[in-house]
């Protein structure tokens, strides 16, 4: 552990190193600010640590999910999951349906190392949901405010996809997206079956380099007036290879063909010479000076278990939504006895996840296909965007917000239990019959997952459990959760729609199709789209942060992760977290220039 950190005075401390923290550190350090990044987990370099090409047969339990590695052995996540050793959390209710499962990844880059890479822009409707249907809240900014940052983020990280011009599914400017990979057989079959149903199946948007990024022109376009930013971005971009269509993105990527904070944001930020990163640093609280402005943070050095302090002119909290709220709530002082910026009691409130429900099927048309390689980009090449905006606005659906459908299946590398459930198709075959069935059915099983918007509600929040601390002595969060009827009805609709699609494909459904949404819906936190709990807004009485994600009343305290979200559209949050973090960081730089901070 280096003593430099404690003695140094930084321009900015960034708490967290994932999508938001990585972006904030990148933008601030390339603008010339001296930045300290604090990460609760260990250092991690995907270039050296990614199991490229490793076979499932070489992994313990053939790579199966275990409590230690919930997404399977080769998943990039280190010291992470819904349960983290030494880091308990509490539930507000004993009812299993009201449980919130809190995912963490204690490693440099956080969950960007393993995430699904799905990179969908929120649309115009998504920023003004209250104005459209009277539910939830409007964002203090519009799609137009964030669009330039979506453009820049997509140019920087590289996103494949297409512009389809569909309702509330924004196009990117010409030339920003990379070409989508060709559809797989099952994706084409889904598209064909969906056409008569009026359901669009279009190229997915994923942050995977289907082609190399143009390192000569993009950095110039991103930073026309900043030579340092342009140079470090060019070098970093140049070192990223295009996808070679092998190795699951969830393992991370040693050739940097997909987006990880550790391959795309942190290396150029480090190359500026303006960034120090301290890992194994678990931040407990933000400290204040006599004027009530943020002066730095107190963190626990996890190696020595000693308390340390770091000082800066600006503090940017990007520890992941619930962790950021926890830091705010644990930062108690005479000025803020109930936690930082919590005069109105809204810190921790309106925590959200994504509505998730899925259905599986076996598709006869996909049986006994000639062997062919369907690895592709590992994740989706095609997906189903929400298609029912019109019916919804006419009130025909009984729930107010949309969902998209993610398509999974194909001829994947066999892992643990690759033919579980096959006995229902073979009557329990074993022997030669079983081998023939495996040959016939391999690749014919599909699993579609709905991912829908949750409307924030009063029952979903976190507070501090005053009776419990983690291994670092930090009071832990207690989660309260209850899905609203909107979400339950939406989950039931997901099941119904997916089942209809499978039926149109001539498939046999292999999992329950529930009319009761409470049986279909995944628990809170399971989809790992935890956002909200430090909501932004126009009114200091009704929000924690302003439109720049700046704490009301504490002008040098900012939040740069998913916590500022006031709604959680069906569009997966990471791209928006990055665009918003970039916008916030630009504002911080501007405030520095104006000497307001």
């Amino acid at each position: 552990m280096d003593s430099r950190v404690e003695s140094k005075e930084y321009d900015a401390i960034v708490v967290g190193s994932g999508a938001g923290g990585g972006m904030a550190a990148y933008v601030l350090s390339t603008a010339g600010l001296k930045v300290l990044m604090l990460e609760a987990g260990r250092a991690y370099d995907p270039v050296k640590e990614t199991p490229m090409f490793n076979w499932t047969k070489d992994a313990p339990l053939r790579g199966a999910s275990t409590p230690d590695k919930p997404f399977g052995f080769y998943d990039a996540t280190i010291d992470g999951g819904w349960e983290v050793p030494g880091e308990p959390y509490s539930q507000g209710s004993d009812d299993p349906a009201r449980e919130f499962k809190w995912w963490r990844a204690r490693m440099l880059g956080g969950r960007t190392n393993h995430w699904g890479r799905i990179s969908l822009r929120m649309g115009e409707y998504d920023f003004k949901p209250y104005s459209r249907d009277g539910l939830g809240f409007d964002w203090p900014l519009s799609y137009g405010d964030l669009a330039p940052y979506y453009d820049k983020t997509e140019m920087l990280i590289g996103v494949y996809g297409s512009n389809e011009g569909l309702e509330n599914t924004p196009n990117s400017p010409e030339g920003v997206l990379l070409p989508p990979p060709k559809a797989r057989a099952y994706e084409l079959l889904t598209k064909k079956a969906c056409e008569p149903l009026g359901i669009p199946v279009i190229p997915a948007h994923l942050s995977i380099l289907s082609e190399k990024l143009d390192h000569e022109t993009i950095p110039k376009a991103l930073f026309p007036d900043n030579e340092l930013a342009e140079a470090v971005t060019r070098d970093s971009m140049k070192s990223r290879a295009a996808c070679f269509w092998a190795t699951d993105c969830g393992r991370g990527c040693s050739i940097k063909a997909n987006f990880q904070s550790t391959t795309v944001l942190i290396p150029p930020a480090l190359a500026t010479g303006n960034l120090d990163i301290q890992t194994d640093a678990m931040v407990r609280e933000v400290t204040l000076d006599k004027k009530g402005r943020a002066s730095g943070v107190i963190y626990i050095d996890k190696v020595t278990k000693r308390e340390k302090r770091a000082k800066a002119r600006v503090v940017v909290v990007a520890a992941s939504a619930a962790e950021s709220s926890r830091i705010f709530l644990n930062s108690r002082s005479n000025l803020f006895p109930d936690g930082l910026a919590n005069d109105n009691g809204l810190v921790g409130k309106y925590l959200m996840d994504t509505v998730g429900a899925g259905v599986g099927a076996q598709i006869p048309a996909l049986e006994s296909l000639p062997p062919h390689n369907e690895d592709g980009a590992s994740a989706m090449h095609m997906y189903i965007p929400w298609w029912n905006y019109q019916a919804q606005s006419r009130g025909e659906l009984g729930f107010a917000r949309g969902y998209h459908i993610e398509l999974y299946g194909g001829r994947r590398m066999p892992g643990h239990a690759p033919f579980r459930g096959l006995e229902n198709f073979t009557g329990g075959a074993y022997g030669i019959d079983f081998k023939e069935a495996c040959r016939r059915y391999y690749g014919s099983f599909l699993w579609f997952e709905g991912r829908g918007e949750m409307i924030p509600n009063d029952d979903c929040y976190l507070e501090i459990d005053s009776e419990r601390v983690d291994d670092w002595g930090i009071p832990v969060p207690k989660f309260h959760w209850k899905w609203g009827q909107q979400e339950l009805d939406q989950a039931a609709h997901m099941h119904k729609s997916i089942a209809e699609i499978f039926e149109a494909m001539g498939g046999t459904i292999t999992s329950p199709v529930h009319k009761d949404g409470s049986k279909a819906i995944a628990n809170g936190g399971v989809i790992i789209h935890e956002v909200g709990s430090l909501m932004m807004g126009d009114d200091p009485k009704k929000s924690v942060l302003n439109e720049h994600c700046q704490a009301w009343g504490i002008p040098n305290l900012f939040v740069a992760d998913g916590a500022p979200f006031v709604s959680n559209a069906d569009k997966n949050p990471t791209l928006t977290i990055m665009a918003l973090a970039w916008r916030t960081s630009d504002y911080i730089v501007d405030q520095f220039k104006r000497r307001n901070i």
Binding site: P60, K256, E374, R439, Y442
Partner: protein, 208 residues
Amino acid sequence: MTASKLTLDRRAALKLIASTSAAAASAQVLGENAKRSATDPDLVNPEKPWFGGLSAKEMASVAVLADMIIPEDRFSPKATDVNAHFYVDEYVSAPYQKCQEALQTIREGLRWLDEQSVMRFGDAFNEISDRERHMIVEEIKWVASANDRNKPAAIFFALLRDLVATGFYTSFEGMADIGYVGNKPSVSFDGPSREVLIKVGLLDGDIS
């Protein structure tokens, strides 16, 4: 052969990995690197720490059953030829609750088979004839068709089949049998071939 059909060979891919590796910056990162643990194992060079949960006698029965589930045919070898039965042992030797429950299920299932064999054919499962073994397994091959008394044994057999199939179909021989041909680096992803599209019934669909 067009450029898009080119496949990177593995050596070229590894070279690419090595070249990007050299450019990695890690200068100002202060803190610890890997401290190996169950939640932070070496992913690149994995170790398989779990074995020995089943006794030699139990393993002998598992081997016989594994080859009943996956016998040799003209496409691929039998389960024990690729050591698929050892995967059963690995799985039930792991410390996780699910695995420990599986150990009980396997152990009780093997005991049940021996009891049935002795009762009906006068000797342990491994000692009776193939035909006799099949007569017993037929009764437990599917949970849905097994009679109520045999349900626990059918649950055992379903688990065993899953584990043997895992061991077998994750082997190179098993992957070749079902036609998994991925995990190869290539310059482009070309999508399904004409032959595949015809088979799926998509040739008149949207092919671009």
